[in-house]
Amino acid sequence: MSATGAAGLAGATGGDRLRVAGSILRRIAGVFVSVVLTFLGLTCVTFVIGRVVPIDPVLAIVGDHASDEVYQRVRAEIGLDLPIYAQYGRYLVKVLHGDFGTSVITSRPVLEDLLRVFPATIELSALALVIGIALGIPAGVIAAAHRGRWQDQLIRFASLLGYSMPVFWLGLVGLLLFYAKLGWVAGPGRVDTGFDDIVEPVTGLLTIDSLLAGETGVFWNALGHIVLPASILGYLSLAYVARMTRSFMLGQLGQEYILAAMAKGLSPARIIWVHALGNIWVQLVTVIALTFGSLLEGAVLTETVFAWPGLGLYMKNSLYNADLNAVLGGTILVGTVYILLNMLSDLTYPLVDPRARRTA
């Protein structure tokens, strides 16, 4: 927002300038406070949930057969003998120092784990989102333009199906058809065993890293592995994007400027794809940002079916083992991403809406 804000300031007087600067400062302070409060709430709720679940976290570390002595020592080591508010306080202090603790199930620092698993999820979700947008928006527009006719029915049916179908089932059927029967794509996992460990991680996105390293064999193999899970996640986001696009478009198509454009003799294609679509971008950007956020955290079942070593699988495993450090770390990561996405979509509004540029 600062760039457009500066542009707006160019013609302002000194007093105005001060006032605007003050308001920007206030806004930044407001955002900061709300971010801090969100984080506090997030960690607090997760922490309490993690402590009230009837699972003994010590069991996850020492196993069922450990002696009482070992059990008690580990319990004290992870601070479970302290009252819950003291445990929470201890945790917060550590987090503020950038220490998310060590995961009990991987025995590595949680931060290191997250940095390792998160790129796999980003890669999957980003591709899914591209598929969702590239197909979902046109589908929504077409449905709205042909409201009530067969095109609309077909698209609404397909998107309802995508929205209500369990992703777990869809994943297995997809594997059965495209991997087992047709052999068009590769199976579960991120890359074939033979191609494993060839490329050093740079970005953590295997398709990009393999291209950077010039390993085209790895690239094609990785692409073969990602295309199916990404398509299935993409179908889910397509369903949502198409439905929302359709309803936004219907809102626009009923407006008077559309009538005016038609009266002017503009082609229906131009009216729909340029005028009407152009007016719903702001809403769409929000929808897309939220879709991306939900893809990041919502890939749990997809990652399980496809043995995809990403955040979803990591979080699921941590939850099952009451690995509180990992769960909290993951929650904070997802929360941060949501907040960043929200800010990012705010920043994009002026790009797609000229009015936002003027009033910044």
């Binding site: 069991l59 196993g63 450990a66 070992v70 991997y179 052999g183 199976g187 996992g189 399980t304 496809f306």
Partner: protein
């Protein structure tokens, strides 16, 4: 409209992406690729590891002082040790090491390394630490009781009264894995004896060396060309974590994995007709049982306990939904275990159970809660029990929960009935006797919180017999003592022993040589060929 054509074109090209099937239908020729659930691994340090998958990996990575080898799973032989002698009082064990053994680093395996490896288990005292400490070796006296007297001689002294066979059996377990002292100490942090580093690295002299462990993803290992029994046939083993068993099946069918370890019985049935695949059956070592809480007045009644044993349809379950994956087992030692007794006195008999309940003063039965794990097959087993107990008026309310929750309830002794399973710690009958027929202190502060304690079964007499069996030096007499303990606990214990699992491993038809014994300590990769 031209837009449609563009859209159709996009869709079409997306569907016809050029992924030729042939590029990923085979695993590398020199590599075994195995699909298995391995998310239980939390460490690969043999002084700390106690999870089934982790122990299996380390069985293949580290050599041990003594072993049961893949070639004969029933015979105790030397691993790193070539021979051993036991003092007359049964307390001092002297091991002569094999000459010319080498670690993966190339350094020779010395008695100093073996002493260090055993000492560090007692000093670290992590989860498997009790295997060593139960012998009376603690972190304070470990360096005095475990000594290298010359480069090829290790002397170990125990302070507890234990049968020599028991001690030798413990020395075939995970804690007797031999770690290279120099490599471990080079990576020591804050006096951890290399623990942090060894979680993800190996310093071993076994059949393989560890290449890497990526949590929730894979464990890979590479053949050790200088392994004392000869280099493994295939150069690499990659164990891939595939959590969804249906995905494991697809990977196997497509040839992307050589071996799938966790297929369910319906998936195994579905691939039965596929000529490119085969299945092999291996007995498991777990005991699946019900524990009846003896703090509960009703369940404490011997007649009620006996009635409960007649209200489980053992044979009906193994003939139907457990077919091919479980066998009936009504004693606390699994079939194939040293000292195991084949004894199967119970079958479903509602009439008999009803009369026992009437004698006990419960002619109309009672209501009882049963905690049970919420995954298959425990769900089906508990439903079957609910149904058959219901026929005698015992109304079972099943409390399904995640396994760790069930164990938390059980360990806190808050159950009425709990349906769980138990795996032995090492290949000696004492491991399960200690769990099921030993409890001399039923207080909350007991040092010994295994199943008998957890279900409030206070048994001073049986416990004395368990201790006597553990220290009996005459092997034949010792076996008879375990037979007696099994019979007594099956007839009149606080447990209803039900089943033992059988594992089906599915593999490509040309894959041979996986050896899977009844415990993770006996699962060997080194003979696999394809």
């Amino acid at each position: 409209m031209s837009k449609y054509r563009i859209l159709a074109g996009l869709l079409g090209s997306a569907l016809a992406m050029p992924f030729a099937a042939s590029s990923w239908a085979e695993t590398p020729k020199d590599t075994v690729v195995m699909a298995k659930k391995i998310d239980d691994i939390i460490t690969l340090d043999p002084g700390e590891c106690y999870e089934l998958s982790g122990v299996e990996m380390l069985t293949n990575v580290y050599d041990r002082l003594l072993r049961y080898e893949a070639e004969d799973l029933t015979k105790l032989v030397g691993g790193v040790a070539e021979s051993w002698t036991i003092s007359d009082d049964g307390k001092t064990f002297t091991f002569k090491l094999r000459p010319n053994l080498k670690f993966q680093s190339g350094a020779p395996v010395t008695a100093e390394d073996t002493a260090f490896s055993l000492q560090r288990v007692a000093i670290l005292n992590k989860t498997p630490g009790f295997l060593i400490t139960q012998l009376g070796i603690t972190k304070d006296n470990a360096k005095d009781l475990i000594k290298a007297t010359d480069p090829h001689t290790l002397v170990l002294t125990i302070t507890e009264n234990y049968a020599p066979t028991l001690v030798l059996n413990v020395l075939t377990s995970i804690v007797a894995s031999i770690v290279e002292k120099k490599a471990a100490m080079e990576h020591e942090e804050n006096g951890d004896l290399g623990n942090a580093w060894l979680k993800t690295h190996s310093a071993s002299s076994g059949a393989y060396k560890l290449l890497g462990w990526k949590p929730n993803e894979s464990v890979s290992m590479e053949a050790n060309p200088s392994f004392r029994l000869g280099a493994p046939k295939l150069k690499r083993v990659v164990v891939r974590h595939v959590p969804e068993t249906a995905s494991q099946r697809l990977l196997l069918e497509k040839g992307d994995v050589d071996i799938a370890r966790d297929l369910t019985s319906d998936q195994l049935a579905a691939i039965a007709g596929n000529k490119a695949l085969k299945t092999e059956e291996f007995a498991g070592s777990d005991t699946w049982y019900l524990a009846l809480n003896q703090a509960d007045e009703r369940l404490k009644n011997p007649k009620v306990r006996e009635a409960m044993r007649y209200l489980v349809d053992y044979q009906g379950m193994t003939a139907s939904f457990l077919k091919g994956t479980f066998i009936v087992r009504q004693t606390f030692l699994p079939k194939g275990f040293p000292g195991a007794l084949d004894y199967e006195p119970f079958k479903l008999d509602v009439a008999k159970a009803k009369s026992l309940l009437a004698e006990a003063g419960y002619p109309d039965g009672f209501e009882v809660r049963m905690d049970a794990q919420n995954t298959s097959p425990m769900t089906e087993i508990s439903q079957s029990i609910q149904q058959t107990m219901g026929q005698a008026g015992v109304k079972v309310a099943i409390v399904p929960a995640e396994l760790k929750q069930v164990l938390t309830v059980y360990r806190a002794r808050k159950h009425e009935i709990v349906a769980v399973n138990w795996g032995p710690d090492y290949l000696d009958p004492h491991t399960n006797a200690d769990a099921f027929v030993y409890n001399v202190d039923d207080s909350d502060n007991s040092k010994h919180k295994l199943p008998a304690w957890r279900t409030h079964w206070l048994i001073p007499e049986l416990s004395a017999e368990t201790l006597a069996a553990a220290s009996e030096k005459d092997a034949a007499k010792r076996e008879m003592m375990y037979h007696d303990l099994q019979k007594k606990s099956t007839d009149d214990g606080a447990f209803v022993f039900m089943f033992q699992p059988v594992f089906q491993v599915a593999e490509q038809a040309h894959v041979k040589g996986l050896v899977a014994g009844i415990t993770s300590d006996l699962t060997f990769y080194r003979l696999i060929t394809k």
